[in-house]
């Protein structure tokens, strides 16, 4: 019997039963009571939202109309439903929809007239009532925002020359839930769309708990923002602006490391809570990358914090990178001749173990930056991984430029204390394992230099 015939053979009942039993035995159909409570509670909470009730009412009306097959009535209903609050005229039009089958032409005429009246009422409302309500409020003048200001400038329009020019025009979006301008065509309110997740919900979700109502894209966006908040300069905008009275304080300069965009610029040192938040968000982002849900490019969001951090905070970030399961050596697989500088620095900061052949993608022209990153991690009381990367990279640099003493001496000048000891130990280990003779000679000379310096 050929394999194709065997494949197309009918399945005997006992085999089908065994297969079903196997699948059923490997499927968990239970749910934790607490989780069920949380989920059903969330749905019940949503049901109390007036917008949902409104959507439900619209759905009921649509279903009724569909059953009766009244196309015109359905269309009118869809148009009229968001405008019910606008005036009595529209309500009359909707009420009359039941008579549409009997006298379609007459009804259509009345509907058009009613719609016109409704629109007129809405226009009157917008032009005469809403300006009165908003005339004493403050509105944001987008044209008056200075690029150097700490935040948007709030301009009062009362009595200003612009008042007449803006008469009758409401700036921005109304924040009242059911104001006409706040209702979208589909019946949802703008305010609900703009709802910001609670802080504790975000933190819990990043830590792995499931929070009903929180979408992945919201979590992702919030994680990026949390990382950007501690990043020394904005990720998106080049303009450096900070809100007044925020929790950011100017504390340090990243001078001497060559990490700032232009030397000497003061950068904001975030307070502890923002830094802790960024750690949690970074871990969540990296796990999503490791899981395959996000692309590898996303690691550059937490990577930027890592490259600009020092000390214990740096060590925590390095641990998060290592434990996340992201295969950083995949960064070395690039089409171009050289690895992008930021990726090379990240590999150095985390101390990625890879073959020298693959490490050859690291650009030799930025070796100073790479060595500094490895040294910063090693100085932050890290284990042997960062020094291991450093030794590998120095060997690689030596192969490229065998006669350059600067390569050997550059890192030695900055090694201190424990990092020096670890580096020496790594060197001795490498000496025992390296097979290539010129590499061994180089490492031996490096070791002698290191010992003599002590």
């Amino acid at each position: 019997m050929s394999p194709m015939d065997q494949k197309n053979q009918p399945i005997p009942p006992e085999q089908a039963r065994a297969l079903d039993a196997l699948i059923a035995s490997q499927t968990d159909t239970s749910m934790d009571e607490a989780q069920a409570d949380l989920l059903l509670g969330f749905v019940q909470d949503r049901s109390q939202d007036s917008s949902l009730d409104r959507t439900k009412d619209c759905a009921q009306d649509r279903t009724k109309d569909r059953t009766q097959g009244r196309t015109l009535g359905r269309t009118l209903d869809r148009v009229a439903a968001p405008m019910l609050d606008s005036g009595e005229a529209m309500a009359q039009v909707v009420d009359a929809s039941a008579r549409v089958a009997e006298q379609p032409l007459r009804f259509a005429l009345r509907a058009v007239l009613g719609l016109g009246l409704g629109l007129a009422a809405a226009a009157v409302l917008v032009f005469f009532i809403l300006p009165d309500r908003s005339s004493n409020s403050e509105s944001v003048d987008s044209s008056g925002v200075s690029p150097d200001a700490a935040g948007p400038i709030v301009v009062s329009t009362v009595g200003s020359p612009k008042e007449k020019a803006n008469d009758g025009v409401e700036r921005g979006v109304s924040t009242e839930p059911w104001a006409p301008s706040a209702i979208l065509v589909n019946g949802f309110s703008r305010t609900r769309r703009k709802r910001v997740p609670a802080e504790q919900d975000l933190l819990a979700a990043w830590k792995g708990r499931w929070i009903p109502g929180l979408q992945m894209r919201e979590l992702h966006q919030a994680a990026r923002e949390a990382c950007a908040a501690v990043y020394p300069w904005p990720l998106v905008s080049k303009r450096v602006s900070r809100p007044q009275g925020s929790s950011m304080r100017v504390s340090a300069t990243l001078d001497g490391l060559g990490l700032t965009p232009s030397p000497g610029i003061l950068v904001a040192g975030p307070v502890a809570s923002a830094r802790a938040r960024a750690l949690i968000a970074s871990r969540w982002l990296l796990r999503r990358v490791a899981n395959g849900s996000l692309s590898l490019k996303e690691i550059h969001v937490p990577a930027r914090i890592l490259l600009a951090s020092r000390g214990a905070y740096r060590l925590r970030l390095v641990e998060i990178f290592r434990k996340s399961g992201v295969r950083l050596d995949r960064l070395l697989i690039v089409r171009g001749r050289h690895l992008p500088p930021e990726s090379a620095e990240l590999l150095a900061a985390v101390g990625v173990e890879s073959s020298l052949k693959r490490l050859a993608k690291v650009d030799g022209r930025i070796q100073g930056r790479i060595v500094r990153q490895a040294l910063l991690t090693a100085s932050a009381d890290d284990g042997p991984r960062s020094t291991g990367f450093l030794v590998d990279f120095l060997v690689l640099a030596h192969r490229r430029q065998p006669d350059s003493d600067r390569i050997r001496m550059a890192p030695l000048a900055e090694l201190e204390g424990l990092a020096w000891q670890r580096f020496l130990k790594t060197l001795e280990d490498q000496l025992a394992h390296r097979a290539r003779y010129p590499d061994r000679i180089f490492l031996e000379r490096l070791r002698v230099d290191l010992v003599s310096r002590s």
């Binding site: 494949k7 197309n8 009918p10 399945i11 085999q15 089908a16 065994a18 297969l19 079903d20 039993a21 196997l22 699948i23 059923a24 490997q26 499927t27 968990d28 159909t29 239970s30 749910m31 069920a36 989920l39 059903l40 969330f42 749905v43 019940q44 949503r46 049901s47 949902l52 959507t55 439900k56 759905a59 009921q60 649509r62 279903t63 499931w210 009903p212 109502g213 979408q215 992945m216 796990r287 999503r288 490791a290 899981n291 395959g292 849900s293 399961g325």
Partner: protein, 193 residues
């Protein structure tokens, strides 16, 4: 007692609307809770089957519950409530671009964590995990319709007729999908049978 009841399946007269269903349609929150609670685990199991991660499965289930709640008032009881609920889940899962239906090769699920306790023999634990992974991987390679049909048939024990309603297809097509799914699984898991 009918054959279906003997098989542990839902009898045909299960289509008669229960009091909870009627009350839930009228907006009774407690009735809605009573109606949905027994189904949550089953819905979550199929969500897990149709998505690649626990997070996605939970998100899908949440979306399904919201849709059920919104649409309950318009539910015309032309089919059983559970068929309707599972059909919402199936439709949402297959909507393009919303949920990943197949994991990327070489990826490891985030939810897979080390056990807190090692009270079970490590060998047994590893064997059980390997078996679970094999079954899951084999199911994951099935097309979505076959996967759903086979799950509803083998795990939930539904009749072909009811599965056809949930998948919005004919009974013959459902039988065909289940048969093909079983054949594919027999090829991959034949040594376990």
């Amino acid at each position: 007692m009918s054959d279906e009841e003997l098989d542990g399946r839902e009898p045909r007269n299960a289509r008669q609307p229960g009091s909870d269903l009627l009350a839930a349609r009228d907006g009774d929150a407690l009735a809605f809770d009573r109606l949905l609670r027994p189904m949550l685990g089953k819905l979550l199991a199929l969500s897990r089957r149709l998505t690649v991660s626990e997070a996605q499965a939970e998100e899908l289930l949440q979306e399904v519950l919201i849709r059920i709640h919104r649409g309950l008032a318009g539910f015309r009881m032309e089919c059983s409530f559970r068929s309707w609920a599972f059909s919402i889940l199936y439709r949402l899962a297959r909507s393009p671009g919303r949920y990943s239906l197949q994991s990327r090769p070489g990826s490891v699920a985030l939810d897979e964590t080390l056990p807190d306790r090692m009270d079970v023999d490590p060998f047994t634990r590893v064997s059980a995990r390997d078996l679970l992974r094999r079954v899951e991987a084999s199911m994951e390679r099935l097309p979505l319709r076959q996967r759903t049909a086979l799950h509803l048939r083998s795990v939930e024990g539904w009749s072909y007729e009811e599965i056809a309603v949930a998948l919005d297809t004919s009974e013959g097509s459902t039988r065909n999908a289940v048969m093909h799914a079983r054949r594919s699984l027999r090829e991959r898991l034949g040594d376990l049978l």
